[in-house]
C-alpha cells in the first residue's frame, strides 16, 4: 500500500520525540523480537492494511503517547510522520488518535489538570472543588496560567480512597505527571502553576499503605500482605517475603499440573466477568501444538468508577503481578506478555517498569528463566483514556494500534485474541492470586471462602465510609461486615444506598446489607460483585445526581461502534435530565417504561458489556427507591 500523506510536516521536536520512542520500543526486550505472524484474517471491525509482518502498527499507541507527552497535542505533521514510520494510513492513525481522551488533535496547553467529578469524588466534595477551581483558574476547558495550562473535569481516576482526586500532566522535554489526592483547589492551582513554570518535581505520587490499606490484622492478609511492608522497587524484598517461590514450584510441577491446580482452585476472574481463570489457561494450553504464538495479557485497565484495588497491588507489590503473569505464561506456553494499564495510572506504571527492569536483570524475565529453558518477557502498554479498552477484545485492538472497539465474540480470546492468536487475559488481582494457589495447592485454595466463591477478594470501599480503602477478605462476610471493618458509615452516619460493582454494577439498599459478598450471594439479590466496588452514600446525597453522573459516564465512554450503545447511552442521559428537571415527556411512568425498553435493547443487542450493563445501576436504583417524584 502506498501511503498518501498531505503536506503537513512534523517539527524537529516532534520528530525527535517519535524517533526516540521508536528506538526505545524497537530495542525493548519485550518488543524487539515481535513478529506479528497473524495471517491478517480479521473480522470487519479491524482492517489490516498490507502485510501484517511489514507493519509496525502495534507501536502506534506508544508513539502517539510520545508526541502527546512531548508537545501536548498531536499535530497533522506529527501524525503524518507517525503514519510514515509505522506504515499506517493517516486517516486510520487519526481515527485511533481521536479515540482516546488523553490525546488532543488540536493545539492544547502543555499542562492539563484533570479534576475527578465522578461518583466517589462527588461524595467527597468534588462539586465544591470544581466550583473553587473555576474561581481560581477560570472555566473548565479554557486556557489559564498565561495559556500554558488548562483544567478539565474527568471521569473516575481510580483514586477513590483518597477522594477527591486530580491528575496533572505536563508535556515537554521532561514530561511530568502528578497525582493529587486528596485534592484541594489550592493544591491543584499551585501544582498547575509549578508545572506551567517548569518547576514541578519529578515525583508522581506516594503509596501510603496506612491510608490506602487500612485493614487491621494485617498478618492474615494474603494478596495485600506485602503492600506497605516491602520496598516495591526491591526484588530482594519481594523474594525475602516468599516472592518467586511459586514460580519455582510451577517449574517443578510443569504446565499441566499448574493448570490442573488452577482449575481445582475454582479461581474466578476478579476483573468483573468472573470467568474461571484455569479454564482460560487450559483452552490456550490445548493449542500448544499449533505452532501459533500465545500471549498472556494482564488487564490493568482498571477504569470502572470506584475501582482502585489493582492500582494498589501494582504500586505496592508489582513483582507479584509479574510472577503471576510468568506462571500463567509458563502454563499456557506464551513467550510474550503485555500489561495494559490505564493511562491515568502513572505511578503504578512507573512501579511496574522498575519491576520489569529488575526482574530482567536477575533473569526472572527474559531468556531461559531460572535455567529452565523457559523464555518470557513483558511489555507495558499504557492506555490513553478509554474505559472501553478494559473490555478484552477492545484491549487487543488498542494494543494492535487500532481503535479500541470491541470485537464480536465468538471467536473468544483463547482461540483468537491478540494479533488473532490464542491469548489469556487475566486481571491484576486474578494474577496476584496465582502464587497463592501454587504455594498452597488448588484444593486448599478452593476450601477458602464459600462453595461457589473460592479464595480471597479485594474490595474497594469508598464514599461515605469512615476508613475508605482496599480491604481483603476471604469470601463469605456480608456487606454489613465489610462496612463495620471500614469503621462504619461516614458522612451523616445514616446510610442511604450502597453501589456494588461500580457504574456497571447495581445499587442495594440498607435493608440488603446482610447479603454475603460472594458471587452467588450478590446474584441472589440481582446485584453483582463486579470489580469489587463497595461505595457508600449517606442520606445527604442526591441519588438522582449520582444516576445522572453514571449516565454521563457511559455516554462519554461508549466507543460508538454499535447503535444500541452509541445512541442508547445518550438517550438514557437525556431521559434522566428530563426526569430531574421534572419535565417528562408524557408522564413519569411513560418515561420509566421508555427507559426500561431502551435498557432491554441495550442489554440484548449491544456488542459488549458496556452497552449491556449501561442501564443496570440506574434501573436498580429506580427499582429500590421512589425517585423523580
Amino acid at each position: 500500500m502506498d501511503l498518501h500523506l498531505n503536506a503537513a510536516k512534523a517539527s524537529a521536536e516532534e520528530r525527535v520525540a517519535m524517533d526516540a520512542a521508536l528506538k526505545q520500543l524497537e530495542s525493548s526486550p519485550g518488543d524487539a523480537s515481535l513478529t506479528v505472524t497473524s495471517d491478517g484474517q480479521a473480522d470487519g471491525n479491524v482492517p489490516t492494511n498490507g502485510l501484517p509482518t511489514r507493519s509496525k502498527r502495534h507501536l502506534l499507541l506508544p508513539v502517539l503517547h510520545a508526541i502527546q507527552e512531548r508537545v501536548g497535542w498531536i499535530s497533522p505533521g506529527a501524525l503524518n510522520y507517525a503514519s510514515l514510520q509505522l506504515g499506517v494510513p493517516p486517516a486510520e492513525a487519526h481515527g485511533v488518535a481521536s479515540f482516546y481522551e488523553k490525546f488532543s488533535l488540536a493545539p492544547k496547553p502543555p499542562v492539563v489538570a484533570r479534576a475527578c467529578d465522578d461518583i466517589a469524588c462527588m461524595t467527597r466534595g468534588a462539586g465544591a472543588l470544581c466550583a473553587e477551581l473555576e474561581r481560581k483558574l477560570g472555566p473548565a476547558g479554557k486556557p489559564c496560567s498565561l495559556g500554558k495550562a488548562i483544567w478539565q473535569r474527568s471521569s473516575c481516576l481510580g483514586l477513590c480512597e483518597r477522594a477527591p482526586a486530580a491528575l496533572i500532566t505536563a508535556a515537554g522535554e521532561k514530561p511530568r505527571e502528578r497525582v493529587i489526592a486528596p485534592a484541594y483547589a489550592e493544591s491543584i492551582a499551585s501544582a498547575v502553576l509549578d508545572a506551567a513554570t517548569g518547576k514541578l518535581p519529578d515525583e508522581i505520587d506516594t503509596l501510603n499503605a496506612k491510608v490506602s490499606v487500612p485493614q487491621d490484622g494485617r498478618s492474615q492478609l494474603r494478596l495485600l500482605r506485602r503492600v506497605g511492608q516491602v520496598d516495591p522497587a526491591s526484588l530482594e524484598d519481594y523474594r525475602r517475603l516468599g516472592g518467586y517461590e511459586a514460580l519455582r514450584r510451577a517449574f517443578e510441577w510443569g504446565p499441566e499440573r499448574v493448570i490442573r491446580e488452577a482449575i481445582e482452585s475454582k479461581l474466578l476472574g476478579r476483573g468483573g466477568a468472573a470467568f474461571p481463570a484455569g479454564k482460560k489457561w487450559e483452552a490456550v494450553h490445548q493449542q500448544r501444538e499449533s505452532n501459533r504464538p500465545h500471549y498472556v495479557i494482564c488487564n490493568a485497565d482498571e477504569s470502572e468508577p470506584g475501582t482502585f484495588k489493582d492500582r494498589i497491588l501494582m504500586e505496592g507489590d508489582p513483582f507479584a503481578v509479574l510472577e503471576g503473569m510468568t506462571i500463567a505464561a509458563f502454563a499456557v506456553g506464551a513467550k510474550r506478555g503485555y500489561i495494559y494499564i490505564r493511562g491515568e495510572y502513572p505511578y503504578a506504571t512507573q512501579r511496574l517498569e522498575q519491576a520489569i527492569h529488575a526482574a530482567r536483570a536477575q533473569n526472572f524475565l527474559g531468556e531461559d528463566i531460572g535455567g529452565r529453558g523457559f523464555t518470557f518477557d513483558i511489555e507495558i502498554r499504557r492506555g490513553a483514556g478509554a474505559y472501553i479498552c478494559g473490555e478484552e477484545t477492545a484491549l487487543f485492538n488498542s494494543i494492535e494500534g487500532y481503535r479500541g472497539e470491541p470485537r464480536n465474540k465468538p471467536p473468544f480470546p483463547t482461540q483468537s485474541g491478540l494479533f488473532r492468536e490464542p491469548t489469556v487475559v487475566n486481571n491484576v488481582e486474578t494474577l496476584v492470586n496465582v502464587p497463592e494457589i501454587i504455594l498452597n495447592g488448588g484444593a486448599a485454595y478452593a476450601r477458602i471462602g464459600t462453595a461457589n466463591s473460592s479464595g480471597y477478594r479485594l474490595f474497594c470501599v469508598s464514599g461515605h465510609v469512615v476508613r475508605p480503602g482496599v480491604y481483603e477478605l476471604p469470601f463469605g462476610p456480608t456487606i454489613r461486615d465489610l462496612i463495620e471493618m471500614a469503621g462504619g458509615v461516614g458522612g451523616t452516619g445514616r446510610l442511604q444506598a450502597v453501589l456494588l460493582g461500580g457504574a456497571a454494577g447495581s445499587f442495594v439498599s440498607p435493608k440488603e446489607l446482610d447479603t454475603p459478598l460472594t458471587f452467588e450471594g450478590t446474584r441472589a439479590i440481582g446485584a453483582t460483585l463486579g470489580s469489587g466496588v463497595v461505595m457508600l452514600f449517606d442520606d445527604s446525597v442526591d441519588l438522582e445526581q449520582i444516576l445522572l453522573r453514571i449516565a454521563a459516564f457511559f455516554r462519554s465512554e461508549t466507543c460508538g461502534q454499535c447503535v444500541p450503545c452509541r445512541v442508547g447511552t445518550i438517550r438514557q442521559e437525556e431521559l434522566l435530565q428530563r426526569l430531574i428537571a421534572r419535565k417528562p415527556l408524557g408522564s413519569k411512568e411513560q418515561e420509566s417504561a421508555l427507559l426500561k425498553e431502551m435498557a432491554q435493547a441495550m442489554r440484548d443487542a449491544s456488542i459488549c458489556g458496556l452497552g449491556q450493563t449501561a442501564s443496570g445501576a440506574i434501573l436498580s436504583a429506580m427499582d429500590r427507591w421512589s425517585l423523580f417524584l
Binding site: 500500500m1 486517516a91 492513525a93 487519526h94 464480536n408 460508538g560 444500541p564 445512541v567
Partner: protein, 304 residues
Amino acid sequence: MSEQLQAPSPLIPIPRAPAPEIPVPAARRDVQITIDGKRVTVLEGATILDAAKTLGIETPTLCFLETLTPVNVCRVCVVQVEGSRPLVPACSRKVEEGMVVWTDSERVRLSRRVVLEFLASSVDVSTALQLQAYMKRYEARPEKFGPRAATVVQPPKIDNELYVRDYSKCILCYKCAEACGVDAQNTFAIGVAGRGFHAHIATEFEIPLTDSACVYCGNCIGVCPTGALMGKIEYDMRAAGTWDESRQTRTETICPYCGVGCELTVHSQAGQIVRVSSPLDHSVTQGNLCIKGRFGWQFTQSHK
C-alpha cells in the same frame, strides 16, 4: 548396497524427499439448525443470515453487504439463539450444529425496533428507503425521544465536483470505510474517527477529500445505504426537486475505458446519465468501479 547399484533411470526422476503434501481444505460438513421451529441444513461456515434466507425468512440488515466483511455494528439483524444471554447478529454469527434460533420473538422485535428508533431519532433518514421500510415493518416511532433528542445534524461536505458527503444522514455502518480499505479499494482515505455519539467517518484531521488519499472511485457511494454519500449530480437534482427514479431507466453495458470488462448500470433520466453503478453480483466488479467507470461519462452529454 543394492540401492547403490540401482542407478536412477534418467527418464523417471526419483523424488529425493517425500512429495510435499498439498493441504486439501476439509470438505465442509452439513450443519443442521432450527430457525423459528423449522429445521434447515446448511453448509458449515454459513451464517444464521444465510440459513434464514434459505427458509425465506427476511432479515433486516443495514451494515451488512455480501461483498464486505461483516462488521455487525448496526444490530438490526439480531436474532435470539437459545443458550446465548444477549441476542446475536445474524449477519456474522456462524451456524453451529443444533442451534435453535428465533428471528421474530418479542425480544428480537423490540431490539430491532429500538435500534431503528435510535437511528431515526439521531440521523436524517429521508433518503434511506430501506431503513424506512424496516421502520414501517417494526412500527418504529423515533419521535418518542422528544424534539430535543441529540442528532448528528451538520452541513453537507461539498469539496469536490464528483460527490457529496452529507453526514447528517450517516448511520455509521462502516461500509464506506471498508470499501475504501481492504475490502475493495485499499486507498484508506477515510476511517472512523472520534468516539461515542460523536464517532464519525473522516479523513485525517477532516481535510477536504481533494487533499486526502481519495481516488474518487466512488465505491463508498456504491455501498452507502442511506444516501449520505451521493453523486453530485444526484445531490443537485434532489435539491432542485428534479430527481425522479420512477422516470429513470437502467441500461446494462460494459465500461469502454480499459480491458477489465466492468459491467456498468447506467441510470438515465430524460435522456441524461444521472448515475452509474455496477451490480454487486458481477464477477469482475462486485459492485466496484474506478473513477472513469463511475464518473467519466460527462463527455456523452457535452454541449461543446
